[in-house]
């Protein structure tokens, strides 16, 4: 079978391979190369070594956005996961109307980041107007605005994943723990949480990478204002590319660093939580 299938390579594998090469592979390799070049478009690139990377070190907006992004990612990851898990626990207890609640909580996920950003801009600016402030008054408002927005959007998604994880915990295990005299808190921390560890791995992974890569919501909600102080990394990179001419190389170098950070986070996070998963 292998042999006859092999002859059909052009039909089966070629279209995806070609698109993948154009849509991912060439841009990726070229991106790495260009981060060591000075250029305004891809055809006039001149190799300059690590000059672009050195320039980043003195770029204060980048360093600020790095810390801002790290803080935002951690805060939103913790909040989203704790709240989503709590809601999932409650919604697996057979409360009346569970399905309707689930439907409502999940809905914001289907709405795109740009639309979400403007929805929350209206609401939060409306509330802040009572205190004569706006979201762009200082970067802390933009920060918490973004955290609230992301919680609203992602709790539903993570809740769905946690619910399926919790429903897969065998009932006998909980019963056995109850008979052995375990208190509810003990059951939660020693039975339920270890058993849903795969879901926790996935949800923390998703919230971490989503938070770190966030762009649309940031653009729509505050657009980095006041003066780039509420800029997340992705928006900072975008503005370096398209906001200042002559900085394309620096933008690409930032993008490479961004990629390395995302990859590191993904790898470390999966390692850390995978080791806590129970084999069964």
């Amino acid at each position: 079978m292998q042999k006859s299938l092999k002859r059909y390579f052009p039909v089966f594998a070629f279209p995806t391979l070609a698109a993948f090469t154009i849509g991912f592979f060439i841009p990726f390799v070229m991106g790495i190369y260009l981060s060591f070049c000075k250029f305004t478009t891809v055809t006039d690139a001149k190799f300059i070594g690590i000059g672009n990377y050195l320039k980043i070190l003195s770029d204060r907006t980048f360093l600020h956005s790095l810390w801002y992004t790290a803080a935002f990612t951690i805060v939103s990851m913790v909040l989203i996961n704790v709240l989503a898990f709590t809601v999932a626990m409650l919604l697996t207890k057979g409360i009346q109307g569970t399905n309707a609640f689930r439907t409502v909580f999940f809905m914001p996920n289907l709405i795109g980041g740009i639309v979400l950003g403007y929805i929350w801009q209206l609401l939060l600016n409306g509330i802040l107007a009572n205190f004569q402030k706006t979201l762009t008054y200082n970067s802390a408002y933009g920060f918490w605005g973004l955290v609230v927005l992301m919680c609203w959007q992602q709790i539903g998604y993570m809740m769905i994943i946690y619910i399926s994880g919790i429903q897969n915990v065998p009932g006998e295990l909980i019963e056995a723990a109850k008979i052995d005299g375990a208190r509810p808190a003990q059951i939660l921390f020693h039975v339920t949480i270890p058993m849903v560890m795969p879901s926790i791995t996935i949800c923390t992974f998703l919230t971490l990478t989503n938070g770190f890569k966030l762009f649309d919501q940031n653009l729509a909600l505050t657009n980095g204002e006041p003066s780039s102080m509420s800029e997340l990394l992705a928006l900072n990179i975008f503005n370096t590319f398209y906001g200042r001419t002559g900085y394309e190389g620096v933008g690409q170098a930032k993008a490479v660093i961004f990629f390395i950070l995302v990859a590191l986070i993904a790898i470390i996070q999966t390692r850390l939580t995978r080791t806590k998963e129970v084999q069964h």
């Binding site: 006859s4 594998a13 154009i22 849509g23 409650l90 980041g113 409306g126």
Partner: protein, 279 residues
């Protein structure tokens, strides 16, 4: 005991009903404001539009005209539906090929797909948009190829995970009975892959429909806007934003998604769960 438990459950039901109401409040607020005269939206966002604040569908008409909303909707629909269809077809075929043909190419392709899933779009956005431009992919048909390329990683990975679970005997039997690989794939393998197709379709559709940056950089946006681009365009460069048109367009952008959600809810939620397990 039984009575107490029921009482408890009832209290929780009320709690969640209130929480649900809070959850939809931001969307309701936008709907309410879309009927308000534009100068009052920023000043009095929480008031019900009555009397001189109420403008009917004026905001909608102005917004639709300003950003050519229905053209944008048409583009978004076309791009999303076609891209998802092409992704499903091409990546499922590719995944079957690389799972069944053992060669360095197959292994390499599989790991490249896995790798591409963790690469953020910013890493390739500049080079990808220039390359797409050079290859004249800046129209709604060309962008399908870009989506196939950038979305291939996740889909190939998910299809591969599923194909491995299909017993080889079924396919071999079909081949012995005289099926060509193409017939075997479409008549035997593809029907078995259906649940994964739905999962992949939902995850990709959610991404492509809402995607802003990729179409913004790849498409010739003077001619082709998608819904997120049109909405961002409404904010414009300078000067005050027409809040009335903005609210109306947000509502129009949300309606198709909510309708779609209500009809396909079961599949969407199942798709998300299945996608998470594999991812």
């Amino acid at each position: 005991m039984g009575v107490r438990k029921a009482k408890h459950g009832f209290a929780w039901s009320i709690f969640f009903a209130l929480l649900s109401a809070a959850w939809v409040f931001p969307i309701l607020l936008v709907i309410v404001n879309s009927f308000k005269k534009k100068v009052y939206i920023s000043r009095k966002p929480f008031e019900i539009p009555i009397g001189k604040m109420f403008v009917g569908f004026e905001n909608y008409l102005r917004g639709i005209e300003k950003i050519q909303f229905f053209d944008a909707l048409k583009n978004s629909l076309f791009i999303t539906v076609c891209s998802v269809a092409v992704i499903i077809l091409c990546t499922s075929m590719c995944a079957w090929y690389i799972s069944r043909v053992k060669s360095p190419f197959s292994t390499g392709m599989y790991y490249l797909c896995l790798f591409s899933m963790i690469v953020p779009f910013q890493m390739v956005m500049f080079t990808l948009s220039k390359l797409a431009n050079m290859l004249h992919l800046y129209n709604p048909v060309g962008i399908i190829l870009v989506y196939l390329g950038f979305g291939a990683g996740l889909s190939v990975f998910m299809f591969c995970g599923f194909v491995r679970g299909i017993p080889l005997e079924i396919e071999e039997a079909a081949m012995i009975d005289g099926c060509t690989p193409i017939q075997t794939f479409f008549q035997v393998v593809f029907p078995i892959l259906k649940p994964t197709c739905i999962t992949v379709a939902i995850l990709q559709a959610m991404w492509i429909w809402n995607d802003y940056l990729l179409p913004y950089l790849v498409l010739d946006i003077k001619r082709f806007k998608t819904v997120p681009i049109a909405i961002q365009y409404l904010r414009g460069g300078y000067g005050s934003v027409d809040m009335g048109a903005m609210m109306a367009m947000l509502v129009l952008a949300i309606i198709p998604i909510v309708v779609f959600y209500i009809f396909c809810q079961k599949y969407i939620i199942e798709g998300v769960v299945a996608g998470a397990v594999k991812g």
